[in-house]
């Protein structure tokens, strides 16, 4: 048994970008089949679909939708950063992209929240 990497060694931005990207991906992956199943309810006709969508008006549902939009933005922006690192010319860990990922996600989250409550 070899000593593990200490948690204090994780205190740098690229590490947190990795964790955020992996966890957001995992949550999105688990959410997807549920999302598809709800949409598939439309196969049972518009009324059945409506009764499901009526759930959407509930606060908890809207909150979880907002969280998912946030996760999606974070994962996508973090993913674009990785694509740049892997396919474009090397220019460091692209910490500006980490900042952009957070910024764009906050903005997207705000836009979606506004749309939800309007």
């Amino acid at each position: 048994m070899t000593p593990a990497v200490d948690a204090r060694a994780h205190a740098h931005p690229a590490w947190w970008a990795f964790v955020l990207h992996r966890v957001s991906g995992l949550l999105l992956a688990l959410f997807l089949p549920l999302h598809f199943w709800v949409l598939g309810q439309a196969l049972n006709g518009a009324e059945a679909f409506d009764s499901w969508i009526a759930l959407a008006d509930q606060l908890l549902f809207r909150l979880s939708e907002w969280v998912l939009v946030l996760l999606l933005s974070l994962h996508m922006m973090g993913g674009v950063r990785l694509l740049l690192i892997e396919f474009a010319a090397w220019s460091g860990p692209r910490k500006n992209w980490i900042a952009a990922a957070l910024g764009v996600s906050v903005a997207t989250g705000m836009a979606f929240a506004l749309a939800l409550v309007s």
Partner: protein, 115 residues
């Protein structure tokens, strides 16, 4: 050596699908932000999506890209964090990919084609 090639291909497919998804996600988020204004109803969704070839093709591509993009990620998490055997992790990850493909295409069918 065959394993190595398969693993390299999995990486490549995941990155390629990521590029497709980046585009799809930007469009999807924009559409969602536009669509949820003033609430969302089933008939509202269906009125937009029903019979629309654009919706159908776009979301079918989206679903296929998801089905290709998700399994390598889940495989990595299963091996690295859950310490599953590589064969088991790959099998479950692929199963999940099939689940996404089937439920996803069914959903696209439901909102675009079904009466």
């Amino acid at each position: 050596m065959n394993d190595t090639v398969a693993q390299a291909r999995r990486w490549y497919v995941q990155r390629l699908s990521a590029m497709v998804l980046a585009l799809c996600v930007v469009i999807h988020l924009a559409v969602m932000i536009y669509a949820v204004r003033g609430g969302l109803s089933g008939s509202e969704i269906l009125s937009r999506t029903h019979g629309s070839w654009t919706f159908g093709i776009f979301y079918a591509v989206f679903v296929v890209a998801c089905a290709l993009h998700v399994p390598p990620g889940l495989n990595n998490i299963a091996v690295e964090w859950l310490h599953w055997r590589p064969a088991r992790a790959l099998f479950i990850a692929r199963l999940f990919g099939v689940l996404i493909l089937v439920t996803g295409l069914r959903a696209v069918w439901a909102v675009v084609v079904a009466p």
